[in-house]
């Protein structure tokens, strides 16, 4: 995953003046005290709407994110790597289940979310619209895309909505294997033969742009984050997350003798912040709006899975049960 409420457009910020001021004050005081909001509590419409959007898009990202990595399961080098990659991809799909459940407690049925994914109405993390050409791309995703996801997820786990936080705690615990596995794969490539090093370097060159996009547009152009920060829906700014990622992982990339395709990338020791070339935000916009190398394939695969699996679900459908939202 890949949540963060950053690559994501946010809900329209209106109607807040129609909320009961007394209830709103109590709600905000609860968050201020560091308490979680639970499904049975009163909450502003905007809070509900924004959280549904964010958690749902996070869930979609887990599902779609399993596709580029899944590409390499059958051709992962050796039994151990196949076993590990399969387990990781299974985890990612499991994360989606946990997140869909959390979003459902806010009132959006799971089927409606899956519909919105398939029709392209709902977004998912943009980075998965790029292809995994070689095994090294899969290594990059496992290590660094997951590392970026963990930065976001750890931040969000301190947020205010109980069911989302509990799902994230579980997810973060599972992610530690992904991260170590991914790092292990990259180390193996980077310290291997000349050919392996070349492959790894080429993958970094391909993925650096999307990786910088991953945390969303720079703070100076992201709008509406103030109230979301106050409500602990958004826990860290896009630039702060990006900076934290660079701080933790650039040294680890460099120590393997690999380079990063940005001549301006360096840490400003005075400010403690990383300096870098802004990635191409026009490309980001274009891709997130549908015109990326893999958007069509990702949705088509998801839709086909839905269509061709429908008969199984129909066969299992028993009138004795009934869909309701989960309790917590």
């Amino acid at each position: 995953m890949y949540g963060g409420g950053n690559t994501f457009e946010s809900a329209k910020f209106e109607g807040l003046e129609n909320e009961d001021p007394q209830k709103l004050a109590e709600f905000e005081a609860r968050i201020e005290r560091g308490e979680k909001i639970e499904p049975s509590d009163w909450m502003p419409k905007l809070y509900r709407k924004q959280l549904i959007r964010m958690i749902e898009q996070h869930a979609h990202s887990e599902i779609i994110g399993a596709l580029p990595e899944g590409t390499w399961i059958t051709r992962a080098p050796g039994f151990k790597r196949k076993l590990a990659l399969m387990a990781k991809v299974q985890d990612e799909v499991g994360h989606a289940q946990l997140l869909y459940s959390a979003a459902e407690t806010l009132g959006k049925p799971r089927e409606a979310m899956i519909d919105d994914l398939i029709t392209g109405k709902s977004k998912y993390s943009n980075i998965f619209n790029y292809p995994a050409f070689t095994w090294a791309d899969s290594c990059f995703i496992s290590w660094l895309v997951d590392a970026g996801a963990i930065v976001n997820q750890l931040a969000n786990a301190r947020g205010s909505y109980g069911p989302y936080c509990r799902a994230l705690d579980r997810i973060c615990a599972e992610e530690s294997f992904h991260l170590k596995y991914g790092h292990h794969c990259v180390i193996h490539m980077a310290t291997g033969s000349e050919k392996q090093r070349e492959m790894m370097q080429a993958a970094i060159n391909r993925w650096w742009g999307p990786m910088m996009h991953f945390f969303g547009p720079p703070d100076k152009v992201s709008v509406h984050t103030e109230v979301l920060m106050k409500w602990k829906v958004k826990m860290a700014s896009n630039d702060d997350c990006r900076n934290q990622f660079l701080d933790m992982y650039v040294p680890k990339i460099w120590e393997l003798g690999l380079t990063i395709p940005d001549p301006n990338l360096k840490k400003n020791e005075d400010t403690g912040r990383w300096e870098y070339t802004e990635p191409d935000w026009e490309e980001f916009k274009r891709v997130i709006n549908g015109d990326g190398p893999c958007n069509k394939e990702r949705l088509a695969v998801r839709r086909t899975a839905e269509e061709r699996g429908a008969w199984v679900r129909k066969a299992l459908l028993a009138p004795k049960t009934e869909y309701v939202a989960p309790l917590a």
Partner: protein, 203 residues
């Protein structure tokens, strides 16, 4: 569709087919899942799964909630069969809100109790009581819990018969968990390799 993924190419997908919404399907029912991490520990609410029936819910729950961590037992129950009290906060014990008596008729049955002791945390299994209804079970539990040291904020009451419990024989499904070390971060140590690489680079 020519994909980098051979599994996708084999599907022969028309990626230009219009993105119409899928045909609606009545959704599967919802089941709450409780997990026991270790023998002797309390069962805790872990989350929900959607399934066509309780048996399938058990299978999904096993995959979803006991694939990675330790596990020694699993409960699943249809969400509609969970009797939920109101929620209280601060120092208010929810048992203060329970009436002193409840209408009851019919045969006594067993009911399982789950308490929420901390906001933001999960419900934990406390024990069971024999009563004629969930309401009556709450009345009966009141005297025991109303003076608890820490306030109880919410109670779930479930008829024991409505729960599907893992059985003694089921426990073999978790026997292989310790063998799946490839799912643990600890199986991926590589510091030595990095060190050796750095030394080689230096030469």
């Amino acid at each position: 569709m020519e994909s980098l993924d051979p599994r996708v190419s084999r599907l022969n997908i028309d990626e230009n087919a219009s993105l119409s919404p899928k045909a609606p399907l009545d959704q599967f029912g919802t089941f709450e899942v409780f997990v026991q991490l270790k023998e002797g520990k309390q069962y805790k609410h872990e989350g929900a799964v959607h399934a066509p029936n309780r048996d399938m819910a058990f299978i999904f729950a096993k995959e979803q909630f006991s694939r990675r961590l330790m596990c020694s037992g699993l409960f699943v129950v249809d969400t509609r069969n969970v009797f939920v009290t109101e929620y209280t906060e601060d120092t208010v014990n929810v048992y203060e809100k329970v009436a002193d008596n409840a209408d009851a008729q019919g045969e006594a049955q067993e009911f399982e109790f789950f308490h929420l002791m901390k906001r933001g945390k999960q419900h934990e299994h406390i024990g069971s009581i024999e009563a004629q209804s969930a309401e009556q079970a709450l009345v009966m539990a009141k005297s025991e819990f109303i003076n608890s040291d820490k306030p109880i904020y919410n109670v779930w009451v479930v008829k024991t018969n409505d729960i599907l419990f893992s059985s003694e024989e089921d426990k073999v499904i978790w026997n292989t968990l310790p063998e799946k070390k490839f799912r643990d971060a600890i199986a991926y140590k590589a510091a030595d390799k990095v060190k050796a690489f750095k030394i080689r680079q230096h030469k």
